[in-house]
C-alpha cells in the first residue's frame, strides 16, 4: 500500500505532510491520545479563502486551537506605482485594489484629491457617484452571498448571485465602457456623463431586484443547513470589533450602527433617506441579514438619486483641472471628440498648448495631507493622500477594510470547529486585492 501522507519523526513528534485525499491515512497513523495536534495549511490556492489568503490552522481533533493568517500574495505595489503617475492617472491604479468595489476605491481617492485641491464637484457628478457606489455595494454583497453560499453548500445561490451581479456590471459597462477597473470617477468629477441607456437599465434593475432579494431569502433564511452553519458561528462582539478595528457589516451585526454614510456623511449622503441595518447576534447569521438588508437600503438610495438626477456638467468648470476634451465614441473606440480635435489642431494654438500641458504634465495639487474615510461594502475604506505640491501624488495609503478586518480571523475561529473557519472567514468578506494592494 502506498503512503499518501509521508511522515517523519521530529523532536516534537511525528509530522505528516498531507497532499490531499488521504485523510484516512493521516488519521490511521495518528494516535489520538498522545499526539492530538495537527497543523493544516489552508491556501493560498484554496477556493474557500476568497483569493490568495493562506491560513495555518492548528487542530485538536476537529477544533481549531490556533489560527495564523498569512497575507501578501497579491501585493502589487499599487501605492508605490501611484507616486510615479500624475493625479488623474492615479484613479486608474486605485480602482484595481479591491476589485469587487472599484467605485469605492476611486471615490475615496478622488474625494481625497478634491479635498487637497479645495474644490467641490458638480451636483450631477456627486449624484452619479452615489448611484455608482450603491450599485457597486449591491454587486459586492451579491458576490459575498454567492461565494459564501457556495462555501456553505448552497450551490444555487452562487449562480443566482453572479447572475444578478451581471446586470450591475452591464450598467457599469454602459457608463464607463468597462465591467471592472472603470476609472470612471476622476478628480474633479467623472470621466463622462451617464448615458440615458444606463439610467433606463438602472430603473429596470430597481424593478427586478427586490423580488430577487426575496427569492434569496426564501432560499436560504429558513433552510436548516444554512441556519446551522451560520447561527452562533464566529461570534465577535462590539468590544472585539473595536479593539481589532473591524468596521462595516461585521460591526453592525454586533449591534453598533456605525455607518460612515450616516455618522460622517460625504457625497451628500445626509440628504438621502435610508436606514442602517443592525443586528445583535454578532455571528455569521447576523452578517448575512445585515448584508441582505443593506442591499435593500442601497436600492432605496439609488432610486432617490435617480429621481434627483438633473442635467448638468459632470466635471468641474475649472479648465486647469478638468480634462480638456469630452470623450466621444469613434470607430476605433472611445477618444477625444472630433470637435475638440478640430479646435486644437485647426483653430486655437492656446487650446493645443493647454491640452498638451494638462495631459502630459497634469495639474498641481497644493501641498498637505488629508484622510478621507468612506463606507465601503466591507467597512471603512480610508485614503491618506499626501501632496508636496507637484503633479504626482507624494504618497497615497489605503486603509483597506479587508486588510484590517482579517486580523479578526484568529479571534473568531480559535476554539471553534474547522468547518466554521470557512464560514467565519467568509463572513468577514475579505478581498485580497484590497488587502494586499
Amino acid at each position: 500500500m502506498t503512503s499518501y501522507a509521508e511522515s517523519r519523526e521530529t523532536t516534537e513528534g511525528k509530522v505528516f505532510t498531507v497532499t490531499g485525499g488521504d485523510w484516512d491515512e493521516v488519521i490511521a497513523g495518528h494516535d489520538p491520545v498522545s499526539e492530538e495536534r495537527i497543523v493544516v495549511n489552508l491556501g493560498p490556492q484554496h477556493p474557500s479563502t476568497h483569493g490568495v489568503l493562506r491560513l495555518i490552522l492548528e487542530l485538536e481533533g476537529e477544533s481549531v486551537t490556533e489560527t495564523r493568517v498569512v497575507v501578501g500574495y497579491l501585493h502589487t505595489g499599487i501605492e508605490k506605482n501611484l507616486e510615479y503617475r500624475n493625479w488623474t492617472q492615479g484613479t486608474t491604479f486605485v480602482t484595481r485594489m479591491d476589485y469587487l468595489a472599484p467605485m469605492f476605491n476611486e471615490a475615496a481617492y478622488c474625494l481625497g484629491v478634491e479635498k487637497l485641491l479645495g474644490i467641490g464637484v458638480p451636483e450631477r457628478a456627486t449624484t452619479i457617484r452615489v448611484i455608482m457606489m450603491e450599485l457597486n455595494r449591491i454587486a459586492s454583497h451579491l458576490v459575498w452571498l454567492a461565494t459564501t453560499g457556495l462555501e456553505l453548500g448552497a450551490l444555487s445561490m452562487m449562480l443566482y448571485g453572479f447572475r444578478e451581479r451581471e446586470m450591475i456590471l452591464d450598467i457599469f459597462e454602459l457608463a464607463s465602457g468597462l465591467r471592472m477597473n472603470h476609472a470612471y470617477i476622476r478628480p474633479g468629477g467623472l470621466a463622462q456623463d451617464l448615458p440615458d441607456a444606463a439610467v433606463a437599465k438602472t430603473r429596470e434593475f430597481l424593478e427586478l431586484m427586490p423580488g430577487k432579494l426575496k427569492e434569496y431569502e426564501n432560499l436560504l433564511s429558513g433552510q436548516p443547513i444554512w441556519m446551522k452553519r451560520t447561527k452562533g458561528v464566529a461570534v465577535l462582539d462590539v468590544t472585539g470589533c473595536l479593539a481589532l478595528g473591524v468596521t462595516g457589516p461585521v460591526l453592525r451585526s454586533a449591534g453598533l450602527g456605525w455607518d460612515l454614510r450616516k455618522t460622517m456623511p460625504y457625497c451628500g449622503y445626509e440628504t438621502y433617506e435610508f436606514d442602517v441595518p443592525v443586528r445583535e447576534s454578532a455571528d455569521v447569521w447576523g452578517r448575512y441579514e445585515v448584508r441582505l438588508d443593506e442591499m435593500r437600503e442601497s436600492l432605496k438610495i439609488v432610486e432617490q438619486a435617480l429621481d434627483r438626477l438633473a442635467p448638468g456638467p459632470v466635471m468641474v468648470e475649472d479648465r486647469k483641472i478638468a480634462w480638456p476634451a469630452q470623450l466621444a465614441l469613434g470607430v476605433d473606440g472611445l477618444g477625444n471628440s472630433l470637435e475638440h480635435v478640430a479646435k486644437i489642431m485647426g483653430q486655437s494654438m492656446e487650446a493645443l498648448i493647454h491640452h498638451f500641458k494638462l495631459v502630459t504634465e497634469g495639474f498641481r495639487v497644493p501641498p498637505g495631507q488629508v484622510y478621507v474615510g468612506i463606507e465601503a461594502p466591507r467597512g471603512e475604506l480610508g485614503a491618506h493622500v499626501v501632496s508636496d505640491g507637484g503633479t504626482r501624488p507624494y504618497r497615497v495609503h489605503y486603509r483597506d477594510p479587508s486588510f484590517v478586518n482579517l486580523q479578526a480571523l484568529p479571534a473568531i475561529s480559535e476554539g471553534g470547529l474547522l468547518a466554521d473557519v470557512i464560514a467565519g472567514g467568509a463572513s468577514l468578506d475579505p478581498v485580497m486585492g484590497g488587502c494586499d494592494r
Partner: protein, 236 residues
C-alpha cells in the same frame, strides 16, 4: 538601474521632496525652471514645505476643544506635542516618538476625547527633511462618541527608526504597524510580532522609501522602446 541619490533637490527653490528622482541631471525638469517650479504658467501655485506649518490658536472647527481636553488629560502635553497643525479641516498633532503610546492611551480613555478606533496607521517618507527625521508614522484616530478624527504624526530618522508600538492600546495597529515596518523600515518597539507582511520574508530593503527605485523593465511596443515608469521623462 540607478538608485536616486538622496540629496536635497535643486529644481524648485523650496525643494519639495517628491522631486526625487530629479527628471534631469540638473534636477531642473524639462523646462529648466527655478523658483516656484510652476512650468505650466497657470495655476500660480507656490510650493512650500507642508511640515513647516504650525497653526496658531484658535484652531477653530472644534479643534481647540480637543487640544484642551488632551492638555487636561495628559500632563506631559508640552513635552509630547511638537506641533499642532490644522489644515483643510483636519487636526494633526505631531508627537515625539517616546510619548506616542501615552498620548494614544489618553486619547482613547479620556471621557472628553474617546478616540476608540484607530482607523489607520501608515508611513510617509519625507526624504531630504532638514532635521533628518524623514520617516513619519501617521495614525488616524476616530472618535465614534464625538464623531471626529485626529491625526497623530511621529517623525524619526532613518538610521534610528524606533517608535514604541501602540498595539497595547489599539490591537488593530498590529498589522498596520507591520505594514509600515515592511514598507518603510520603521521599527515599532514592543510590537508582538514585527515581521514583514506584504513583501516576502527574505526581501531586502523597504520598498516605499523614496530612495528605493520603482523598478521595471523597458517594454517594446510597435518597434519603440518605452522605458520603465521611473525612468520616463517627467515634469517638475
Amino acid at each position: 538601474m540607478t538608485v536616486p541619490i538622496p540629496t536635497t533637490p535643486t529644481g524648485a527653490s523650496s525643494g519639495a521632496p517628491a522631486e526625487h528622482p530629479p527628471s534631469s541631471p540638473a534636477g531642473r525638469g524639462m523646462f529648466g525652471v527655478a523658483g516656484s517650479g510652476d512650468t505650466s504658467g497657470f495655476g500660480g501655485l507656490e510650493r512650500r514645505r507642508p511640515t513647516a506649518l504650525d497653526t496658531p490658536r484658535p484652531y477653530g472647527e472644534g479643534f481647540d476643544e480637543v487640544v484642551d481636553a488632551l492638555e487636561a488629560a495628559y500632563p506631559a502635553f508640552d513635552e509630547a506635542i511638537e506641533r499642532v497643525v490644522v489644515d483643510r479641516g483636519e487636526l494633526t498633532l505631531h508627537i515625539r516618538p517616546e510619548h506616542i503610546v501615552e498620548v494614544c492611551q489618553a486619547l482613547r480613555d479620556d471621557e472628553a476625547l474617546r478616540y476608540e478606533l484607530c482607523s489607520s496607521v501608515s508611513g510617509v517618507d519625507y526624504l531630504g527633511q532638514p532635521d533628518g527625521r524623514r520617516l513619519h508614522a501617521v495614525y488616524e484616530l476616530t472618535s465614534m462618541t464625538y464623531r471626529r478624527r485626529v491625526r497623530l504624526e511621529v517623525a524619526v530618522a532613518a538610521d534610528e527608526p524606533h517608535i514604541p508600538s501602540v498595539t497595547r492600546v489599539y490591537p488593530t495597529a498590529d498589522w498596520q504597524e507591520r505594514e509600515a515596518y515592511d514598507m518603510f523600515g520603521i521599527v515599532f518597539d514592543g510590537h508582538p510580532n514585527l515581521t514583514r507582511i506584504l513583501m516576502p520574508d527574505d526581501w531586502e530593503g523597504f520598498p516605499q522609501r523614496k530612495d528605493y527605485p520603482l523598478g521595471g523593465v523597458p517594454v517594446e511596443y510597435k518597434g519603440v522602446e518605452i522605458p520603465p515608469p521611473d525612468q520616463r521623462r517627467s515634469y517638475q
